[in-house]
Symmetry: none
Subunit: 209 residues, 4 copies
């Protein structure tokens, strides 16, 4: 129950209630998605987690897909600036990778803070792990960044796709495991991923944890 419907206090303006309700729905959706997964979630599940009535849902979203997109886009919108900052500040390929993994894992931790403390199982879904236009844009950004170094490193452009895929695969899978550990150690995960991507197992052997 997260809604604040029917706020009638001194500052309970219409607009505030409306925004609050929207947030209530989003919050409820996040929770339910995390708990039972997107596909299993019904609109009823979402509003049930709320003080609102069934019909009210449709004053804010047209479907659970739309809520999901809103959540995902919101995540993406929050993540992109971080990535941009990383790109702008990075002085070398190594730095870029290091900072990018750091940003992603930090972001992942932040996004799932609620889920982490409550122990919800599906949390990894509520990260950056979806196929939204916004998401694809992010992945393309990463790919373009990597392409630069791919050329520098004399790796044929054709495989920049594979390299991006691998980098993301590492991020995703490692991220899932990182979120399961207590305490959640962003630093360690980022270092691990960076070293692995740059130097492989060979590199990991050289600088043990």
């Amino acid at each position: 129950m997260t809604s604040i419907a029917k706020v009638s206090g001194p500052d309970g303006k219409r607009a505030q209630t409306k925004a609050a309700n929207r947030q209530a729905i989003l919050a409820a959706a996040r929770q339910v998605f995390a708990r039972i997964g997107f596909d299993a979630t019904t609109v009823r599940d979402i509003i049930r987690e709320t003080d609102l009535a069934a019909g009210t849902f449709y004053n804010y979203f047209r479907s659970k897909e739309e809520v999901f997109e809103a959540i995902a886009n919101e995540s993406a919108r929050r993540f992109r600036p971080m990535l941009q900052m990383v790109r702008e500040k990075a002085q070398s390929f190594e730095e870029y990778i290091q900072a990018a993994y750091g940003a992603y894992f930090t972001f992942l931790q932040t996004e799932n803070e609620d889920a982490i403390s409550s122990g919800a199982p599906h949390m990894a879904l509520i990260g950056v792990r979806v196929d939204t236009p916004e998401m694809h844009a992010i992945f393309d950004e990463i790919r373009m960044d990597l392409e630069q170094v791919a050329q520098t490193a004399n790796i044929s452009l054709e495989d920049s796709e594979y390299l991006t895929a691998a980098a993301i695969g590492i991020a995703r899978e490692l991220g899932d495991h990182m979120l399961q550990r207590r305490p959640v150690d962003v630093e360690n995960a980022a270092r691990f991923a960076t070293t692995l991507l740059l130097d492989g197992v060979t590199g990991l052997a050289r600088q043990p944890n």
Copy 2:
């Protein structure tokens, strides 16, 4: 339509029918899952792809989840021997990695052969990409294999989990992209993954595609 039910011709051997129907359902399920995805699939969708009647489904499976598990376990059961062979034949860490990625990508290609030729979109889901007990067993096997080398390479045991995760992340993501390319180039993907895992970008730069 893959079922053999109601075969009453001269060679309509009754004895086979039962096993054949089970296979018919499994085949139909595989197709539908690949076409529209697991969650969108209904039991009706599956039996419709069959000569069988609705009720017959429940003579073989209790739910679509059970069919899915059966498919997944079947995949796992097919993949495990491959992995074991890889482990037994490998003379070094490098060889193991190389052979394991080769086996996985080959397996992926084989499993999705139908989907590949028909251009179905959800094929990646029908691979080894699920959380089944059988699946976990596979991942644990891999992890144990990697742990050996982790020790050898002087990487702390604590991170063998991360290493496994990363290796699997690379396999999954790279596998998805590999399946999208025409022709599907298993060799290339395996080489790429192996090199990256062993030596990282540094290694890739040394031996371009």
Copy 3:
């Protein structure tokens, strides 16, 4: 309650039940349409008048529109042969008109027999009073028949449409009133309509009821 669901007697074959259920739905729909009108009717209203379950409706029809069409087409299919017989037997324009009105009013009475005895208000809707392809075909038939005489009577073809409209208007409105009277006097209504159409008020004045 008109359904015969779950007939399990000695002759209770599947096929029979199925046909019976279809008829049960049609009968129920006819009743409800007659009682509260098409638009006010819901699918639930229809099945409630039945022993069947909600979902069963959709085993037979895709929507209430489809039931309605089935009813209307059925009516049309029953009426057309009558009209054809009329056309074939008629030796003159007068005979055609007389027989056509007679056929229509008889048909109307028959169709609404249930409604007449139960006193339902919307019965006129369940006659031939709808816009179905089948219906239009009937009206076109009538128009073509009338066009023949229109030429014979030296009335410009352009107005055969008006003449048909007028003839039908008389039939409809008179039919409604006929159905309200007790006893329902088909003979009288047919004679009245025929005389009016042929000779107008002038004619009516000459041969009072």
Copy 4:
């Protein structure tokens, strides 16, 4: 958008607003009824065609049925004086019929002027074609007028109901078709209906269009 609500300009006379809003709702309702039909119309459809808010609707009407009745009654209230004038001026039965049909078809054209120019499909519904007390009053008036001549023409009183029904049936059906023609020829329709009612097909044959 026909409402004048929220006019706050220099000439925004408050006093008019209330009456104006009522008219705005009526006008909007007329449009929507004409466009999609009464049953398909929702209160929301009506207010959406307005500058007003959803709740405001209920300050003026209790339901769409009430709006509809208001429209119908308004139509009736506009038509009755015409009919009275016809009755008062008519010197003979023929003149009465002629003038009455003329008045009705003219009225029909006027009422549907908007629909005619915009090509809306449901226009015929928005005429005099409903069962309202006001409507019945009109029909009774007509019937009483006709009864006079019925006696004069030596037609038994018992059938004045049928005669009225027939006259109205002709008017309705002919009216529908008249509205479909371009240009809408009121004169012609009135002459046709009059001749038919008075002398029937025999009469039509004598004075072709």
